[in-house]
Amino acid sequence: MSGIYNWMYYIASGGLILIGLYIVLVKTNLIKIVIGLNFIDTGINILLICIGYVRGRTAPIFSRPGISPANVVDPVPQALVLTAIVIGVAVLALALSIVIKVYQHNKTLNVTKIKGLKW
């Protein structure tokens, strides 16, 4: 039973990435596809954070005297993910603006009926 406690964050990130991949591959609505890309982004963020996690240690913020660098978790993936979240929102807004332009040009959101790239 203690095995699943070591693996549960990997299960969470893998489950989110698989569900997002399913949405991107199967669904035909463009906004639903963007929601799937958002899920993949969140899953990868959880994966990067739980790589740097060490059990029994505390956050890398030196706000009181008893905290030394020997008992904090790894701060480098946290800084990486903090940047990745902001960039993810920028990519999301750009993708949605492209979706709005596609809708204004084709009057539909179904990707199987958009024939602008088929020739």
Binding site: T58, A59, I61, S63, R64
Partner: protein
Amino acid sequence: MTLMIFFGVIIIAVILALIRAVKGPTAPDRVVGVDIMVTITVALMVLLGIFFKRRIYLDVSLIYAVLSFVGVIAVARYLDKGL
């Protein structure tokens, strides 16, 4: 020990709100479920701050308490045919 009992009760409350958020027949029902889940989560984060004994963890709860109503306002303005 007392905090553990509180966490158990709060998890049961989150599960009840989750059932309403998944099952609810119309769109405002689901928004109500998610809104209740957000408010319960703010209290859960403060109790977790006591559990971990770090004062800096209260800032997450503060950010959530200030900014959580923006999403609900956006959905409400959409249903109101505004925005």
